[in-house]
Symmetry: C2
Subunit: 702 residues, 2 copies
């Protein structure tokens, strides 16, 4: 994939320059200096040769076909350069330099024009506003980067050129090898999804890192990321996920953005390792890039000082990792070898005078201990500390089956140790907390890799009935679906809805009430009244025929007085439901990722405590149960589940059924079953109230 | 304070050595090399001179008085060396090297012996197990540190020697000057409180940093920290605050520890800046050490790349800081000076080709903008970026009235810029998120500095009545105070307790009920029954005389059957309380910091959601209101406060009164008023149930 971009045989540089301070020169020099072994064709009407390469006034004069065209001319000349490249048979084009969508106005037109030309010709376009790309495997440096990274297994794509070059510079300082590197720029054609696909298939790439400000297509992203993450870690820093950050990102990229919740749900689903900060991105890249994944979450800490050991334990506890309990054999072995003042437990305190040998003993023993999944090794500079020697000794004794993250703490005195670790391709961290955080990311990703296969249950439902209700609403331009109609839809998806009926006069109401049995609930039915209680449109526990008559007439009177303009369908008379635990289940539409399922305990928990979880539709049974478990109030659910036997599986099943509903009917923008009253096993939960909103406008437009 | 330790005129080194690899040599060499200008007296019976200094077999032979004695002999010889020092008139002693409390056994005895000797002689002791101390003001390096820090304004004390030397090494790499430095070791005498007091008074010290594993005295710590923090920032990393971390710290220091809640409350109260990680400690030290405090929380971001700008905005939003809105004049001025592609808002994007001049324009303008409280300046390496020049230009244009935190992102290419910043005494950070976190710490501390004076209200109470109840319990060895007695105590502190009385037979019960009016609540009264409901010992809403009789007899029957061994005082008959909002107020005893007040909304919120706040007693009215405000469920309280008029001040007043109660009676280990039913203004809250536990054992022992 992206063969002509990543493995071209011939490259034209349109806008090649002889002035060393110009991008048009830098690109040619990078190609030459880094050892690209295909043909380089500099194009410049005013030069005969550049860096000893024959220069052509245009591609027509050159006359042969090219694979990749790198365009470095000023923005107003780019359209012509792209046309010329396509004519010359280019299969991929990279446009460096700014002056496109990001500046608005004619920049937008210019970008659309080149994107369309490329698309029509079947040519892939990287950029515009890109810094180019690098493939260390074949010494291809088709970028303006000032440094060629050394060869390695980490590939990077970034929407920000500045972040690209920052990462390359940082990787260089860390002796960290890179595989592929792509500056996505404005993503007029090639975007993160293309690179996720290409890098997933790329044998050189073992870890994918991405920096994103927008996602080009939520659906495509989730699919591509899930496939990629199934074979190698995908670490992404997505910025602009807070409210203020979102506003700033819109200014910068001109695009609206999902919030943190949408990304959280999408990343969780697709196994993406989420970096919350730039520091995380770098730390995680190092850990995943240089160490194997842990099999579980039991971590042992090896240190030559008590204090930093406790820092690591605090971090492990806060992050929800487990302190490993090394086996008796390990303990005995190490106790025999260490001085009596050393503490052999977890942390293992080798004490201040530990040289490389004690580190080696501890690591050699514990990497073979079946009670240990990962190792954090801490070194502070004390009297007999030998940072560089210890780094080498660690490298020699490591089997590479369990991750070892080193923390070499301090300034200049520790630098030789850190440099040695870097040179030996071992990760290092400055503080115990950073190492623990990277370990946690590895543990979580490793658990995701072992997840059971996703099987989405299909329930037998009456789809046609729902279609009828929805089409009727859309035809009439009604976005809001009334409670009565929403309940009809939910009944068609096998929800337990109280028996009831719409009535148009007091006698009708009594008839329905007599049929379903007292007490009943009575509610006004109107498209125009969303908050029924506010206009006196709800009465519960109506106990007999007389009361039903009185309620009907009083309700009509009050609603007419308080909401005179609303069209009233009648009064809905409904069975009262026996009490249980009130939960909310529903869906929201994320701008990037489509329908997301929502779960929370009763009103206060969702509204005040914000104790609510989201998951991308469609969900499996495991994921639905996971939604329940990841609320803070799950404790309460579980307790009640134990005692009176609240049916948690029934809640999960409700989530799965609305997942199926919103997948079947993407027109549903929002659905709230609130409250969904959950009862003991054998007594299915009841939809007490429901509302639904359609995206009518979109549908009319579409 | 600590004059003879920090400013000695003469220093003896007992155990001075000629072998360069021994601590006994290093100390003498550090004293000499760093330029200590008093008298140095090496003591070693086997040497005539060390480093050209005359050496004495013992202090008696030297014959003159000394100020400070540094003891570097092996642990078994330390007792004699301390005795010799005291005899020679030493006013302070430092014991380096291990072999004391931390090894247990005779190490403990040894430590106790030297501590007692010093205490009896009025001599201050640093250590044992210390690495020594440094005072850059007078070139005193009385430590085994391998480096002498340059002179600066940051002082450090640390309980871990390894963390001490790590910080010194790090500070050196950052060109960060230090003032005083003390390795506390085992804290047999001098501890963090002494250094907080000394450093608060020290003119050279502008920022105090501490690393602690234990606190020597909670009370003393809070007092000393509050006084110190009132004049200069006190930044502390306290480890071992998680459950697992606490266990690890006990192993390391042998001492039990408060949890995170206790420290959280103590630090909040005393204005300590809490570092959660080692990275925070270093970052905060740099920010506070090198920049002025902000006046408010409105932050502006200046960047040469959009992406990192958005990272900073995300961080600002997450941390609860405000994005500044620069004034119109600033915007206009900058728009006139910058190229059209630059974005002048917040963030201010100087775009990729920004040289030092644009940074200077932005900083010069915004540091004078009254809508801006702090500046974060971000630089990525792009085409025309000049890191070192920009660093110098920033230094030149800074007025030093508002904090500016720089983020120079990248590897080797940015190092010259970072080095220049360090050399110019400007802080730098590697990622925008780190800078934002440091800014947040400064904003919070600055707000604390402006807090209103703490005035603890004293309510008129009946203290003697409480004394009687408590003494009676203590005499009988009853730790648990029954509901009835607890309510008597609370009534004496002016709480609104429902009317009621203990009754011993059914007719008594009816008599009490008739007096207070129906309906009544009836509850079993017994020292031995804590969970009254479990044994059928609670009945609410008893409506008439007959029901009271039935309830009395049934309750006695059931309690006798279900808890046959419990001593029953009778049945408490009590007025039923009208409904309201249920909250929990109470106290807990922290092992380090004594009584802490507790507040939370009803049962589920505290138990399931852990939505509960703690504050050290005694509290002021502001602090009590702050406790309410810092729960997540405050939203709900405020809403109800708006609607039906829940009396929030009455809850605060309840907290203040139990604060007074536990301050007056330190014997109270635990108190729960649960529920405390809060109602509208004018209708005071009611103590519906209460329990109290005394620390009887302690009291008997004491």
């Amino acid at each position: 994939m992206l063969e002509s971009l990543l493995n071209p045989q011939s490259i034209a540089v349109i806008g090649a320059s002889r002035s060393p301070d110009k991008f048009g020169h830098r690109v040619v020099r990078n190609l030459v200096d880094c050892g690209f072994n295909g043909t380089i064709i500099p194009v410049n009407p005013n030069a005969d040769s550049i860096l000893d390469l024959a220069c052509y006034p245009d591609l027509k004069t050159y006359g042969k076909e090219i694979d990749l065209s790198i365009i470095v001319v000023p923005a107003p000349l780019v359209v012509d350069a792209v046309r010329e490249s396509i004519t010359a048979g280019a299969k991929a084009v990279t446009v460096l330099g700014a002056g496109f969508k990001e500046v608005g106005g004619e920049g937008v037109d210019r970008e659309n024009e080149i994107a369309e030309m490329c698309s029509n010709a079947g040519v892939r376009l990287l950029g515009p506003n890109s810094l180019g790309l690098i493939n260390t495997e074949n010494n291809l440096n088709a970028s303006v980067a000032r440094k060629m990274p050394s060869r390695g297994s980490i590939s990077i794509f970034s929407q920000s050129g500045a972040v690209c070059s920052t990462i390359v510079d940082w990787a260089h300082g860390r002796h960290l090898g890179l595989a592929k590197f792509a500056s996505l720029g404005n993503k007029a054609d090639l975007n993160e999804i293309d690179f996720l696909e290409a890098l997933a298939a790329d044998e050189q790439t073992e870890v994918i890192c991405g920096y994103l400000e927008t996602i080009s297509s939520g659906d495509g992203f989730v699919k591509a990321a899930e496939i990629a993450a199934s074979t190698k870690p995908v670490i992404i820093l997505k910025v602009g996920t807070t409210k203020a950050g979102g506003r700033a990102a819109i200014k910068h990229t001109g695009e609206v953005n999902s919030g943190s919740i949408g990304y959280g749900a999408a990343f969780k689903r697709s196994g993406v390792v989420r970096a919350d900060t730039f520091g995380d991105l770098l730390d995680f890249a190092t850990a995943f890039g240089l160490q194997p994944l842990p099999d579980g979450d039991r971590i042992v800490i090896i240190t030559n000082a008590g204090g930093p050991g406790v820092m690591a334990v605090d971090a492990i506890d806060r992050l929800g990792l487990q302190m490993a309990e090394p086996g008796e054999a390990s303990i005995k072995l190490l106790k025999g070898k260490f001085p009596p003042a050393a503490m052999v437990g977890n942390p293992i305190d080798l004490i201040g005078d530990a040289g490389p040998d004690r580190y080696v003993e501890a690591v050699t023993t514990l990497q073979d201990d079946e009670n240990v999944d990962g190792l954090i090794v801490i070194m502070t500079n004390q009297e007999r500390t030998q940072p560089a020697e210890t780094a080498r000794a660690l490298k020699d004794c490591l089997k590479g089956e369990k991750p070892l993250l080193s923390v070499f703490m301090g300034g200049d005195e520790m630098s030789p140790g850190r440099d040695e670790l870097a040179a030996l391709n071992l990760p290092y961290f400055i503080s115990p907390e950073q190492a623990a955080k990277a370990m946690k990311a590895m543990v979580d990703y490793s658990a995701w890799r072992k997840r059971p296969p996703r099987v989405v249950t299909r329930f037998p439902v009456n789809r046609r009935r729902v279609e009828r209700v929805i089409n009727r609403h859309i035809k009439r331009g009604h976005a809001e679906i009334t409670e009565v109609q929403a309940k009809e839809i939910l009944r068609a998806y096998d929800f337990n809805v109280p028996d009831g009926g719409i009535t148009n006069n007091a006698e009708d109401a009594v008839e329905v009430a007599e049929r379903i049995g007292y007490p009943v609930a009575m509610k006004i039915a109107s498209y125009d009244i969303i908050h029924k209680s506010d206009v006196g449109g709800v009465k519960l526990n109506v106990a007999n025929a007389d009361a039903v008559r009185d309620t009907f007439e009083l309700m009509m009177l009050r609603v007419n007085r308080r909401a005179p303009k609303s069209r009233v369908e009648g009064v809905y008379v409904e069975q009262m439901c026996s009490p249980g635990l009130e939960v909310i289940i529903g869906t929201r539409l994320d701008p990037d990722f489509g329908p997301m399922l929502m779960f929370g305990l009763g009103g206060i928990f969702v509204e005040v405590m914000e104790d609510v979880t989201f998951y991308l539709a469609p969900i499996t049974q495991e994921e639905a149960m996971q939604m329940l478990k990841s609320t803070r109030s799950y404790k309460l659910l579980k307790e009640r589940h134990g005692q009176a036997g609240i049916d948690l599986q029934a809640v999960a099943s409700g989530l799965q059924r609305i997942s199926q509903l919103v997948t079947d009917f993407p027109q549903i923008a929002e659905l709230d079953i609130n409250p969904f009253v959950v009862r003991e096993i054998g007594n299915p939960p009841v939809v007490v109230d429901a509302r639904m909103i359609l995206s009518v406008a979109n549908d009319n437009n579409g």
